[in-house]
């Protein structure tokens, strides 16, 4: 077999192939549901209901989508420049640590000053954390995939050390958790009494800003050029290393905002289970969105819906909620295949 470029994919191809990807994902998940002794139709019905069936479900999905938008954007900008940042999880925690260090009373400021200040602190922490691997890449040629992956583990241990040490809440009954943020440091709820908070608004706003950066600015153009062909970019006079470092700052900062928003908007304090793998799911979100910043918002809501829906489903149907992780991983693989097939045609001989 060989691959031939499609000169101009037709509308049918562009619509049918991603639909096929989703179909394959659902079929694969159905097999697991059957293995669990349940009926796929009723299970997927429950997932859908749990994700979007009620106002509560829908708000819960948007709440879960918030950190995924941030990590999805972080991955989208990094992968666009072919900076393989697999460390969004660590950058998320860096942002959360910065938020907690400054937001639990160290800076007694009014909310309109404190909240932006915390965001800047979080962004700086995340950006710095990714700058390390980025500099190792540009200066020493160290592959950033492994360094960013390993930093995830180092960061979690670092957070664990802080939570059992200097950041430990003295009133926490021995649990490894930080103190609560002061009221001025919290992001308000969008609807009183519901969990959805203004972090979601910040996330959508960030997506628009990132879209403008990628599409309308010189930096965005340079990032795409570096990602497409670094050698050609260099010959065109683009400072490739400089662009990679700027990408790292942007990507690390975005991932850190996920940590800020989870702490300041939802949880109020820092614990070791702040993120159930938002950094890794961000990779799926970014790929499903084909690295388009606005698409990230839709993809994040879709992925969040699967997780929230599966949680609700597993409580009633008895199918393990890990089915959500399986579906999300399958969707990643089928979607990258579908995207490839929109650009190439497979010829058997």
């Amino acid at each position: 077999m060989r691959l031939e470029p499609r000169p101009a994919p037709g509308m049918a191809t562009l619509v049918l192939l991603p639909l096929g990807a989703i179909l394959v994902t659902v079929l694969a998940a159905s097999l697991l549901v059957l293995a669990a002794g349940a009926s796929p139709l009723s299970v997927f019905g429950l997932v859908l209901k749990g994700a979007a069936g009620t106002q509560f479900a829908l708000l819960e999905t948007l709440t879960r989508a918030t950190p995924l938008i941030f990590t999805g954007l972080a991955i989208a900008v990094a992968f666009r420049a072919k900076l393989w940042n697999i460390g969004a999880e660590a950058q998320l925690y860096a942002g959360a640590v910065a938020t907690v260090v400054l937001g639990t009373g160290a800076l007694p400021l009014p909310a309109p000053i404190l909240v932006p200040l915390l965001m800047i602190a979080a962004v700086s922490a995340g950006a710095l954390l990714l700058l390390g691997p980025a500099i190792l890449k540009t200066r020493f040629g160290v592959d950033e995939v492994v360094t960013t992956l390993l930093l995830n583990f180092i960061m979690l241990l670092f957070v664990s050390m802080l939570l059992e040490g200097v950041l430990k809440d003295p009133m926490g009954l021995g649990w490894p958790q930080s103190q609560k943020l002061i009221a001025e440091a919290r992001l308000p709820r969008i609807i009183t009494g519901k969990r959805l908070h203004y972090g979601f608004v910040v996330a959508v706003f960030s997506a628009i800003v990132v879209w403008i950066i990628m599409k309308k600015t010189a930096l965005g153009y340079e990032m795409r050029a570096v990602g497409h062909n670094p050698t050609a970019a260099r010959f065109a006079g683009i400072p490739v290393n400089g662009v990679l470092l700027k990408t790292a700052i942007l990507s690390g900062g975005l991932a850190a905002l996920a940590g800020f928003s989870e702490v300041a908007g939802l949880k109020g304090n820092l614990t070791l289970d702040l993120s159930p793998g938002f950094g890794y799911s961000g990779i799926v979100v970014a790929m499903l969105a084909m690295l388009n910043p606005l698409g990230v918002v839709a993809a994040a809501i879709f992925v969040a819906g699967i997780f929230v829906g599966a949680d609700a489903m597993s409580r009633t149907a008895g199918v393990p909620s890990y089915i959500a992780n399986v579906m999300v991983a399958t969707a990643l693989l089928t979607m990258v295949t579908a995207i490839m097939l929109t650009r190439f045609k497979v010829r058997w001989r």
Binding site: L32, L151, N325, V326, L333, M340
Partner: protein
């Protein structure tokens, strides 16, 4: 201070180091085969988890220990086939597919565990591989004990290194695998299929990764628990780079690394809680990054690593 130094001369320390090295040796050899054929396999972390569970569950359901190893290897090869299908003939990004395979293998593993054992609170145990001291050799002080009073799976790890080294450098197949990672067009000119060689290498390599995972549940410990791979797969990718893609050097790297790991565990006890234990637990990861930085400048990657090959294309 003396205490910290004396650790190095105890047999138990070196026995532990070799034990810690064993799963890394399997998985590092697996990754090395994939990369020598030109495919970066980031599915390693998930494939190790799948192997750890598949092997353990086979024995838990009444299978023989060696059947467990075989089932783990077959599970690994299946995920390898998935990875290779997407990255070799279809030429998809090896980074994205690798992460995808890790996420998929891990989540299917956890799903199956929860499905098979819905109610357990503490992980059930199996009767794992027992140490099998080799007569005479295991009587040699320290070195003999460390190398020759291990479980059969550890011996298999060392045999694997020898077979991989011999196979890669002394057989026509090994030459073809190495050429597929350096100059695939030359392989094609010999009338061999680069696609077939790469798919085969990724499947074989993934089988070894899975056996590495199974070592944890069937030899080092006796039960399966979530997140037990704990970054070992990523560390193995660093070890392949550190070992300059050579089986012998990679073996030395794995043992050196495991010795540091075994040392930090013992040092923790000597320092008696003055230093936060998390700092010790960070050491393996920090060490891996340092190792990468040290060798990065003179690393000679297989030339066609991560370069998809299309027949007839230049």
């Amino acid at each position: 201070m003396m205490e910290a130094f004396e650790i190095l001369f105890t047999a138990s320390f070196w026995v532990a180091a070799i034990r810690i090295a064993s799963p890394l040796i399997f998985a590092t050899m697996g990754e090395l085969i994939c990369e020598r054929a030109g495919v970066l396999n980031l599915g390693i972390e998930g494939i190790m988890a799948a192997g750890a569970f598949a092997g353990w569950f086979t024995v838990y359901s009444g299978g023989d220990l060696w059947t467990g190893v075989a089932v783990a290897a077959a599970t690994g090869a299946a995920f390898g086939l998935l990875h290779a299908t997407l990255t070799v003939p279809l030429g998809l990004s090896q980074h994205v597919v690798g992460i995808g395979v890790t996420l998929l293998a891990t989540s299917i593993t956890y799903f199956t565990y929860r499905l098979a054992l819905p109610t357990v609170t503490s992980p059930p145990k199996i009767e794992p591989f027992q140490p099998l001291p080799i007569p005479v050799l295991s009587d040699i002080p320290i070195l003999g004990e460390a190398l020759f009073s291990q479980t059969p799976l550890t011996y298999l790890a060392f045999v694997t290194v020898a077979v991989v080294g011999w196979g890669l450098y002394r057989t026509p197949l090994g030459l073809a695998v190495r050429a597929a990672g350096e100059n695939p067009a030359a392989v094609e000119a010999q009338g061999l299929s680069v696609t077939a060689i790469r798919i085969g290498a990724v499947m074989a390599g993934s089988a070894l990764m899975a056996i590495g995972g199974a070592f944890l549940t069937m030899s080092a410990f006796n039960s399966f628990f979530f997140e037990m791979i704990n970054g070992r797969g990523w560390i193995c990718i660093a070890l392949v780079v550190f070992g300059s893609w050579r089986p012998g050097k990679a073996l030395l790297g794995a043992i050196l690394f495991a010795a540091f790991d075994a040392y930090q565990i013992r040092l923790q006890q000597v320092t008696g809680g003055v230093v936060p234990y998390q700092l010790f637990l960070m050491l393996p990861y920090v060490l891996s990054i340092l190792a990468l930085v040290l060798v990065a400048r003179r690393a000679t990657y297989p030339k066609a690593l991560m370069v998809p090959y299309q027949k007839g294309e230049r």
